[in-house]
């Protein structure tokens, strides 16, 4: 019996099924990009939190203070507004806060007099409140240092662990690829196996002398190929649309393909376990977001407390984020070495494949 012929035949059947459902395949590719857009919104909403600036002074030192404020670390957008417009915008929830530089600011600073800078904050979101509370003192220190005021002898000297900074959006988009891999490859893998029970064709496989491993390999190769194409589209959007370019292109491609293969295998096992696409797909979607959030997708999980970090180890997305952030940005976001992350993923995939083969070979046919 030709294993290659069986592999091709099995892959051909799976491809024919997917070709017969082009709409589904197109929506799958779209889902990969939409997940990317969704996680980007986390960063985009914070980055552009609007803050009004009212300059009642207009003097040279006020302008230098505004420059210092602009340069301080924060995630809001400063906008010059009139007092009336700012009050109206804050009242209607379109502003996070109003910073008012009082009249006589420049004169008072020049004379060494302490000047109160009024800040009104819509503290509906404590994160943005904290952001302003951090940004203003930082701007004041930077402003004083520029003017060489006495009493600011301490100065930060920065030594970066990593050779380049990684912005929040670039970080998020890469972790979104792990989410994409889980959902897209997982669903396609689950469909490839669950349909064997839905159509009762699993009985045909069990009655034949053929190796279920070859049949499964043929089916999953097509599922993984389609998932990889969807992820390639997402990667293209990241590079062209977001301008985020991987530091090592081939390593990134390999890491992505590895994640696709692993999540296709996990999906195949879920499909074989639940025996229904309609059960496997909602489960994958339901698991995706908790796994994603608790996987170092928004920031390295090791900074979120021991309990959350320990819990994250249950999620394959945790290891996938670790591998992908390393491949794409050269970051080590998990305390474990990258080879450990990769090894855990491979072990998960191997166990999933073994369990799936067990279901195909010996599980109930209904």
């Amino acid at each position: 019996m030709s294993a290659w012929r069986l592999f091709r035949s099995s892959a051909g059947l799976e491809a024919a099924h997917l070709l017969g459902n082009r709409g589904f395949v197109a929506l799958t590719a779209l889902a990969a990009v939409s997940f990317l857009a969704m996680v980007s919104l986390f960063g985009l909403t914070g980055s552009y939190a609007p803050v009004a600036l009212i300059d009642r002074d207009g003097g040279p030192l006020a302008r230098r203070f505004i420059e210092a404020l602009d340069g301080a670390h924060h995630s809001f957008a400063l906008t010059y507004l009139s007092e009336e417009a700012a009050e109206a915008a804050l009242g209607s929830g379109r502003l996070v806060g109003i910073i008012t530089i009082p009249a006589g600011f420049s004169d008072a600073v020049a004379k060494g007099t302490t000047v109160p800078v009024d800040v009104r904050i819509d503290n509906v979101n404590v994160d943005l409140t904290n952001d302003m509370q951090r940004a203003l003192p930082a701007a004041i220190v930077a402003f004083a240092r520029q003017l060489q005021f006495p009493g600011t002898a301490v100065q930060m000297v920065e030594h970066d662990v990593w050779p380049r900074d990684t912005g929040y959006i670039p970080y998020l988009t890469v972790s979104a690829l792990a989410l994409d891999a889980m959902v897209i490859a997982g669903i396609l893998g689950a469909m490839a196996t669950a349909r064997e029970w839905e159509r009762r064709t699993v009985k045909l496989l069990r009655l034949s002398p053929a190796s279920p491993a070859i049949v499964l390999a043929g089916k999953l190769s097509v599922a993984a190929t389609v998932a990889a194409m969807a992820l390639a589209l997402a990667l293209l959007v990241i590079e062209v649309g977001y301008g985020v370019v991987p530091i090592a292109r081939w390593t990134t491609a390999f890491a992505l393909l590895a994640c696709v293969a692993i999540f296709t295998s996990v999906g195949a096992w879920l499909g074989a376990l639940l025996k229904r696409t309609l059960a496997a797909v909602p489960l994958l979607f339901g698991l995706a977001m908790p796994f994603y959030v608790d996987s170092g997708a928004l920031e390295p999980t090791r900074f979120d407390g021991d309990a959350i970090w320990a819990l994250a180890h249950l999620s394959p997305v945790y290891y996938a984020v670790g591998v992908l952030e390393w491949a794409f940005h050269g970051l080590h976001v998990t305390p474990e070495p990258i080879w450990v992350d990769l090894l855990v993923l491979v072990v998960i995939a191997v166990v999933a494949v073994i369990l799936t083969l067990g279901r195909l070979a010996k599980g109930a046919t209904r």
Binding site: L6, S9, A16, R199, T201, L204, P209
Partner: protein
């Protein structure tokens, strides 16, 4: 084929077994290979939780014969098929198919069995040809294209080879599944309800295919709900009820076992009275009122004349005739509650 419903105890060795078929000795395992049973199920018990799907079932199928397994829904027919195919491991008993124990590694054996599952198990989003291509790869069929064309012609689907299966009627899907079961030219075919859900014309086409298989010397085991199907196709019929084999013989022998059927012509009022009276008559198994009068099922040792004489004492009998019972009547007489399959 071993007689039923009293199978011998499971033998300790194959050579010790001397099965009995209606009192006549049947072939033992050590005989010539062509005389060895194609299927030998011995004292099989299958338990699913609290449900005993098969309860001490024994069945022998000789090569080149068509054997029907008949029974109502839930009787255990599909479980018996699954046991024969090695899909279900019995809790007790042994199963040998084509001389091999299905409890062992059955990969080589599976290549010699063609199965039509009850649910056809076709990939309905691809063409008939693609379905058979995949099956050919599963069974390692040499020269698959030629063989596929051959089996499609055999089941009359050559013209629909490139059509998607989803558009096929139930009968066409069944025929395609039979073609798939034949693809690797197996000596043993197992057909689980081959005509369920198909129209009359398709049913007769499938019957013709099964008859041609028997003519070609293949062994066929089929399950069916239709007694007329079993009667029309099978050399032997096994009747299952609630997991037990209640009878197994040729259709004619089963009919003889039941006794004759006596039809008495009388008025409706007389039929009611006659029915009540004859129910207690010795040798009358059952009586049912029909449009022309009364139909009476007789025990094997009962003569119709005795019953007619007794009937004439109750009411005026205008005429009577006797005939052999059909399989429906056999089934009714052999199952306690008279449930039809």
């Amino acid at each position: 084929m071993r007689g039923a419903p009293s199978p011998p105890a499971a033998p300790s060795t194959e050579g010790e077994r001397t099965p009995v078929n209606n009192g006549k000795p049947t072939l033992a395992r050590q005989e010539a290979p062509e005389s060895r049973p194609a299927v030998d199920v011995a004292d099989v018990v299958c338990q699913f939780g609290r449900i005993r799907a098969l309860d001490g079932v024994s069945l022998r199928v000789m090569p080149g014969t068509v054997v029907g397994v008949v029974g109502p829904n839930g009787a255990g027919k599909t479980t018996l098929i699954d046991v024969i195919c090695g899909l279900v491991r019995p809790a007790r008993g042994t199963v040998h198919v084509l001389g091999e124990d299905v409890a062992g590694d059955t990969r080589a054996l599976r290549a010699r069995i063609g199965v039509l599952p009850q649910e056809t198990a076709l990939y309905d989003e691809v063409t008939a040809w693609q379905n058979l291509r995949f099956a050919a790869a599963l069974y390692g069929v040499a020269h698959p294209d030629a063989r596929i064309a051959e089996v499609l012609q055999l089941v009359g689907l050559s013209g629909r080879a490139r059509d998607v299966v989803r558009g096929f009627s139930g009968g066409m899907q069944r025929r395609l599944a039979i073609a798939r079961a034949l693809l690797h030219n197996p000596p043993l075919l197992i057909l689980d309800e081959p005509t369920v859900g198909v129209d009359v014309e398709a049913r007769h086409q499938i019957w013709a295919h099964i008859r041609s298989l028997r003519a070609g010397g293949r062994t066929v085991v089929l399950t069916t709900n239709y007694l007329d199907e079993a009667e029309a196709l099978c050399d032997r019929v096994a009747i299952l009820r609630a997991g037990k084999l209640v009878a197994e013989d040729t259709p004619a022998a089963l009919g003889a076992r039941t006794g004759r059927c006596l039809e008495l012509e009388c008025w409706e009022e007389g039929a009611t009275e006659l029915s009540a009276a004859l129910r207690t008559h010795p040798g009358v198994l059952r009586a049912e009122i029909v449009d022309f009068g009364l139909r009476v099922y007789l025990g094997v040792d009962t003569t119709p004349e005795d019953v007619v004489r007794a009937a004439r004492l109750v009411c005026a009998v205008e005429g009577f005739r006797t005939r052999s019972p059909d399989l429906v009547e056999v089934f009714r007489s052999l199952t306690a509650d008279g449930t039809e399959p």
